[in-house]
Symmetry: C2
Amino acid sequence: MSLEIIIIGDELISGKTRDLNGWYASGCLLSNGLLVNEIRTVGDNYPSIASALRAAVKRSQVVIVTGGLGPTEDDRTTEAVARVFRRPLVLDQDLLFYIKESMDRLGLSWSPSLEKLAWLPKGARILDSNRQMCGFSISRGDCSLYFLPGVPEQMRHLMNKAVIPDLLQKHRPRVIPRNRLLKVYGMSESQIADAFEGLSDTLSAVIFGFYPSFPENHITITVRGKEDVQNDRELERAEQEIRDLLGHYVFAADEQTMEGVVGEALKERKMTLSVAESCTGGLIGHRITSIPGSSLYFDRGATVYSNRSKVEMLGVKQGTLSAYGAVSDETVREMTEGIKRVAHTGIGIAVTGIAGPEGGTDDKPVGTVYIGLSADEQTSSARYRFSGDRDKIKLQTSEMALDWVRRYLYGYPFIPGI
Amino acid sequence: MSLEIIIIGDELISGKTRDLNGWYASGCLLSNGLLVNEIRTVGDNYPSIASALRAAVKRSQVVIVTGGLGPTEDDRTTEAVARVFRRPLVLDQDLLFYIKESMDRLGLSWSPSLEKLAWLPKGARILDSNRQMCGFSISRGDCSLYFLPGVPEQMRHLMNKAVIPDLLQKHRPRVIPRNRLLKVYGMSESQIADAFEGLSDTLSAVIFGFYPSFPENHITITVRGKEDVQNDRELERAEQEIRDLLGHYVFAADEQTMEGVVGEALKERKMTLSVAESCTGGLIGHRITSIPGSSLYFDRGATVYSNRSKVEMLGVKQGTLSAYGAVSDETVREMTEGIKRVAHTGIGIAVTGIAGPEGGTDDKPVGTVYIGLSADEQTSSARYRFSGDRDKIKLQTSEMALDWVRRYLYGYPFIPGI
């Protein structure tokens, strides 16, 4: 079945607003086994809307259109539908009554522009059985067209309550494709591509996708075979092959995150963590505490931006700072031992580095970062060199520090420094 | 001139990834006076790419295509260009040499899949003069096609350095529209709409746009008159009227951020800041230190997640925690006074609250947050109630805390608590 989405709105082709509706609708359709071929985004003008509608009914069996159903003069979708498909607009007296009633109920005053909402193309079917939201569908030969409001909450509600049930009734896919997302940290896209050369040729109906999600790389596995049971087995086999090829570089699947995986591992082992951050400025703590229930294992963080704070909060020696500098292996080791000691936690981690754009030297250029971890009376540390702007250096540092905790807890080797 | 964008990638028609490139490219073009007619998003397969390219060259003079230029097997754009426009792929030896050299320079190992990047359609012009990024352009009759990588940073770099200069040389618009973005915090969209009723009717050729950007509200002012000088004057007048109407709720313009504005104000006044964070877990420090040069005014942060850390790092009294709880006015006042004292800074701020989803009570439901600020021997504090999920509560808390610093520094009243 051929399915496309048309998004209408000047704000979406002028860089003002990032699309939410095409993204949501395509994901919602896919999770019901319905694959979208194309998303087309056009402005609020008759020629663009008309040309998109004409092309769509020629090539697609299902067309979902969002936007341009409101009361203002830049809402032109309904009129365009009437003109393109030669269906005169008809005033739906029932709908008009409902609109007036709900304005009353909300204590809002009636405005003549609202009458526009009750004029629909002849033969249109209203999607919201409660008539609280704009939205209708029409048929045109073999093609079903659904027109939804651009307001994301309303559009989502109607997708789930009206469009999806309708489509599943008409075109229920016999088999729903199976998906898995594997998340990789520490291997580049081309290293992953090379590793995939080792994949067996016997995986049938399996499609792989590769998506950089800085600083991670994500791999999607999709199985579109003809039978559910077979698909489940193929998905499992493909996932296992990839995990065997990439080893402990695969850190999470589907909705899991690095900070979530670290949190789970700490909880299982009943261990506690504290963090000393210099260049990341609090980002590591922020990520750790984005996980509900993180207070079970996260005790505290010391964001030691000034040298004085390193001395006062963590007991870093003034002599170490003077001799080796704040960005040094010696300092990061004292930071990590210091935070573990003052926080009385099982694990302490620390980072110090040069996030830039200023502050680099020949010896320690921007992006130079030291990471340390203390646990079991032992301290490990390494130097890394990250590239990119300030935000990217902070993000990579936080990811590497969290990955150190993960690797420590699972007994994997750390990603080597330089 | 007719201009369209084609976005290639299965992840964008399956709800996996929200588009960034079409959004960025269309905004970037518009700010140079070039209006996009349409953004088309298709999957990584030959029939879809081919049909989008064929339709595009028929109706548009400029076509910008992003995605599918990488080394993996699902990157199919270059090959599709070769097939659709019958231009055989040619190995660019120079480019191959550059790719190998830059892999060497970055200390990365060569991988055979990278050779693919050096095969380009005959007659293609490489966009990056340093040959560090994929991307090329070709001409087809009157139509110029630009092919850019899907990686947002690279795509943005090439848009600004190669595509825009090229387009402006060929199609410079006579008058460039003027834009300004004003950022508002602490007023709802409908409060802003009401305030706009007071706007004078004499602003000609000025278009306003309203875009929620949680937890902020952004207002765009666009002036599309016929003369540059007049446009500049109208833009200035519109901005001044809005600033008069909304007062100190407007905190920034264009690229400025809340943390950037706070940083500038601290620097100008040569004042220093320290932060004690409980529910935000480090987010406030992270935002402050996202600004280059923030070490000039940011001394340290104490992320005091456990009660013990509040006592040990900030000197909060055990009795206060027992009597009033960690989320209380009494505790936030001791936190803010504590961090200011231990950090020896001019200003100390503190936050404590319930980010959820667990931990709420009847008296202090999820979203209850206390904010405190100490400076000049005085401490202010207030209670707020934020809504939304954990991430949204953390984000609103960080925004309110930063807004407190801004308002303190400018002498504006704080947004009232509950």
